[in-house]
């Protein structure tokens, strides 16, 4: 394809903004449109469950760029207008307000939407946490809350529980795993996290299946467990995962399967690319399709997409990275370790609350865990990067 002169980025959060910035940084001088579903200028999501929810930051601080920096992008920023349809053949996008936008290249960066629980719709006091508006609504309820239940023991649920506890609320954290983040970190670090939460006064309810929410008069009153027990609550945070925001791609002919499926160049079709939480692309180093919901991937994948839009033709083979801050503890993970991988401490001491550990599987490093040692963990990143940068010998991933 000849060099594009009109690029449309659908999604104006971290990945969408970063795509636009990377295009300009790499010298793209053509027309650039950034279409966002939310009314807000691009803002950052990781602080929502921490600084914004705690009230340490006023909401405006979560913005990703100052107005001057946005203006310098020389892009049409269309906000508050979700995309509703894409025609890949002519790269035409229709929006909720009726706009018809055409481009040479469309970058899909529409992110994910939080899942909800049965009985949640319209129930006051029951919250998801994805957007700035979600965070502000939850904070308002948390300030008056007496009993908070957080449903979901992943990163977001554990962070929300820590923040609610830091605000002095009585907090119960309920989830299906034996300990928070066990599927991500493995049993040993997850047990450390569980101990941290318990020491800080969070009531942990591990191994519990949640059936739904209970309410009275339009307000949540508790969380129903599969065991029949009901955990009373006046404020509930539902953090039970999310689903890629791909409904608008139905009928486009593009392959949607837990995200917009892309090749190793993050390309879904000629002139259609995806970046960020919504993109499920072929990671050549891992030898399979991968979708990452984390902040660093949003910007790194955006940079890779921008390069490929401009003709770089390079596979995207990042070292996945996530961090989570809970109470005063900073956890960092490089790679995609499986929970059963063997964990070996290589620096520091878990008993002292600071350490770096490596995950191994069949003699290959699969991940690095930093526990209150971010710099030292990064120093070990190379060991995982080497394993991920070369094409995997594992079977072809085409239809995994």
């Amino acid at each position: 394809m000849s060099a594009p002169t009109r690029v449309l980025v659908v999604g104006a959060s971290a990945a969408g903004l970063a795509t636009a910035e990377a295009l300009r940084r790499k010298g793209y001088g053509g027309a650039l449109t950034l279409l966002g579903a939310e009314p807000h200028a691009p803002y950052d999501r990781p602080p929502l469950s921490k600084q914004v929810l705690r009230g340490d930051w006023e909401p405006g601080r979560s913005r990703l760029r100052a107005p001057e920096a946005l203006a310098a992008l020389d892009a049409d920023l269309l906000l508050g207008d979700p995309a509703v349809a894409l025609s890949p053949a002519d790269r035409a996008v229709r929006t909720a307000s009726g706009r018809e936008l055409g481009a040479d290249v469309v970058v899909v960066a529409t992110g994910v939407r939080p899942r909800t629980l049965p009985g949640q719709a319209g129930l006051a006091g029951a919250h998801v946490l994805r957007t700035l508006d979600d965070a502000l609504a939850l904070r308002a309820d948390l300030l008056a809350a007496r009993r908070v239940v957080v449903v979901g023991d992943g990163v977001l649920g554990a962070e929300a529980a820590a923040t609610a506890r830091a605000l002095g609320r009585a907090v119960t954290l309920v989830g299906p795993q034996r300990a928070p983040l066990e599927a991500r970190l493995g049993p040993v670090p997850a047990a450390l996290l569980a101990r941290l939460h318990a020491e800080q006064g969070v009531d942990l309810r591990p191994g519990a299946a949640v059936r739904g929410l209970a309410g009275r008069g339009g307000r949540v009153t508790g969380v129903r467990l599969a065991s029949g027990e009901e955990l009373p609550a006046d404020t509930v945070v539902v953090a039970v995962g999310s689903a890629p925001a791909t409904e608008w791609l139905a009928g486009s002919g593009l392959r949607v399967d837990d995200g917009l499926v892309c090749d190793s160049r993050c390309r879904a079709a000629e002139g259609v690319y995806a970046a960020g939480d919504v993109a499920r692309w072929h990671h050549e180093g891992l030898g399979g399709l991968l979708r990452l919901e984390n902040r660093t991937n949003a910007t790194e994948q955006a940079a890779a997409v921008a390069g490929n839009v401009l003709g770089a033709d390079r596979p995207y083979t990042p070292v996945p990275f996530l961090w989570t801050d809970q109470f005063a503890t900073k956890v960092q993970v490089y790679g995609v370790p499986a929970p059963e991988d063997v964990l070996t401490v290589v620096e520091g001491d878990p008993a002292g609350g600071r350490f770096v550990a490596l995950y191994h599987r069949d003699g290959t490093a699969t991940g690095v865990l930093g526990w209150n040692m971010p710099k030292q963990a990064r120093a070990h990143r190379r060991e995982v990067a080497d394993a991920l940068s070369s094409p995997s010998p594992s079977p072809a991933p085409a239809d995994r």
Binding site: A18, T296, T299, A303, K330, K375, R378
Partner: protein
């Protein structure tokens, strides 16, 4: 070019150090960014701009074209 870092925003990912190790470092104790060179020479500008753009916490600000 003038580089400014906001320690309060920094999440300690170290993305900046990976891209421009002559300009950025991290504190040993908590991984927070340390600015080594607030006015880096021209041959580092591209790397510094990229570091600012990819910072997952938007903690790096770059001013000036030269």
């Amino acid at each position: 070019m003038k580089v400014h870092v906001d320690e309060d925003r920094c999440c300690g990912a170290g993305s900046c150090v990976l891209r421009a190790p002559e300009v950025f470092d991290q504190r040993d104790e908590d991984g927070i960014v340390v600015l080594l060179d607030a006015a880096p020479p021209a041959d580092r500008h591209a790397a510094v701009r990229e570091a600012a753009d990819v910072c997952p916490a938007s903690a790096i600000e770059v001013r000036g074209d030269a």
